[in-house]
């Protein structure tokens, strides 16, 4: 992303949610390297998928984090 990367975007989103009393949206890291799982989770991401992402992995993650959520 041009202005901030995924870690910083996550931190910014989490602060925005807190300041506006919003329900936290699930955030899944999809990364080719650099960021490791521990770092991703530490700033507020919910899940970490390393590239290449297999369809089954993605499906499992989406099922895990989207189940029970209702579209606005």
């Amino acid at each position: 992303m041009p202005e901030m990367d995924g870690l910083q975007a996550t931190a910014a989103i989490r602060v925005y949610e807190r300041e506006n009393n919003l329900k936290p949206i699930p955030i899944i890291a999809v990364t080719a390297g650099g960021t490791n799982e521990e770092i991703a989770l530490s700033v507020g991401m919910n899940e970490y998928l390393a590239k290449p992402v297999r369809l089954e992995q993605l499906r499992t993650a989406l099922d895990k984090w989207l189940s029970g959520r209702v579209a606005p």
């Binding site: 870690l7 910014a12 799982e37």
Partner: protein, 147 residues
């Protein structure tokens, strides 16, 4: 004179570093899990209140954000300043990004201790803590010398 109280929520590496640097000047309490930290932070006696939270990036299986959320969502803790440390051995090639994230989350400082010598880490920690106590809450503090 009452010494300022600091809660250190970190892995053993981080706890050791902080103990070495700050134990002679501050009253330190240590937590290895979010639950331990929450229990210490919510003790009711006024003399048990903390003046600063030092939290490690890898604390309790990377539950740093969970602890910070608890602090910010708890009435009497919502202005507690916090300093983030990275003490676990090993290179992290997203350190600049992590530092930027710490700033966005409201940290008053971010210290990369893992590659410092013991004396450099002690000096950096003492300096960062002194800065945290000298700067008013909610002011942008991370750019004022925590490097």
């Amino acid at each position: 004179m009452t010494r300022k109280r600091i809660l250190v929520a970190s892995t053993p590496d981080g706890q050791y570093r902080v103990q070495q640097a700050l134990a002679s000047s501050y009253e330190l309490r240590f937590a290895s899990t979010v639950r331990e930290a929450q229990n210490l932070l919510t003790e009711k006696l006024p003399e048990h209140a903390f003046d600063l939270l030092i939290c490690g990036v890898h604390f309790d299986d990377s539950r740093l954000y969970e602890l910070l959320s608890f602090v910010r969502d708890t009435d009497h803790l919502d202005e507690l300043p916090f300093l983030i440390i990275q003490a676990k051995k090993g290179a992290i090639d997203v350190m600049d990004s992590l530092k930027g994230s710490a700033k966005l989350l409201g940290a008053c400082g971010f210290l990369e201790l893992q590659n410092m010598t013991a004396s450099a880490a002690n000096k950096a920690l003492r300096h960062a803590v002194e800065e945290a106590f000298q700067t008013p809450v909610k002011e942008e503090r991370i750019d004022k010398g925590s490097d």
